[in-house]
Subunit: 108 residues, 2 copies
DNA sequence: GGACAGTACCATGCAATGCGCAGTACCGCG
DNA sequence: CGCGGTACTGCGCATTGCATGGTACTGTCC
């Protein structure tokens, strides 16, 4: 099964949702996404998404230089990110409903 | 709203589902998809998808040279296409469930 | 009869995005 | 001191939907 294409356009929302529930750093977000069912996400994809969302103003970031281990770049959601999340949530829900109907053969 | 990325990886299944319910030619499949809710699909995307699925052996095709109007290239689903559809249907359903949970904050 | 809209199909090039792979850096353990 | 685990980054690739523009045929309106 190749769910990789399904992720396109959805990883953003997924990451936003995870970060909204609690601030997190890249490596941690990857683990939480995998634990949540998206077991095949590549770490590079998540890091890239985080950076993209940050550039878009949806996330803030603060580095925590850990004394025991590599530093951690935490990300938190901004009001703008929250708005984006709400919007995308709706888009996804609507889209999923449409697809479910289509796949059931109810073309209308 | 930009649902264009959501289509990635899903257009295949959608097209298969539509063709499964009844043979159709490109222009017609576009209309049926739009009527089904995917109002923003570009025609070129559908034609491309049909050709791709045909190359993959999921569809057969037969041209009907109409006496009144341009010819129509009809597509029908093959056993292989039907298998692909069933499989993808499951993948989609599973994926959608996972996403719905994640978006609800139920990371587990 | 010529312009135009509608039907029907196709090719080309682009943009977005997830991934693989490689690299850097730091830690504790045996 | 090497190794595995943690944590982040950069580069180049593959997939795939889209915009644009082109071909071709038909009927309608002026």
């Amino acid at each position: 099964m190749d769910a990789t294409q399904l992720l396109k356009g959805v990883l953003d929302v997924a990451v936003l949702a995870v970060v909204e529930s609690e601030d997190g750093y890249g490596y941690d977000v990857v683990r939480r996404l995998r634990a949540g069912g998206l077991e095949e996400v590549g770490d590079a994809s998540v890091y890239g998404t985080l950076r993209r969302l940050y550039s878009a103003g949806a996330l803030t970031s603060y580095v925590v230089p850990s004394e025991e281990g590599p530093h951690r770049k935490y990300y938190g959601i901004t009001p703008q990110g929250r708005a984006m999340l709400e919007n995308q949530r709706k888009v996804w829900t609507e889209f999923a409903r449409t697809m479910n109907q289509l796949l059931r053969g109810e073309a209308a």
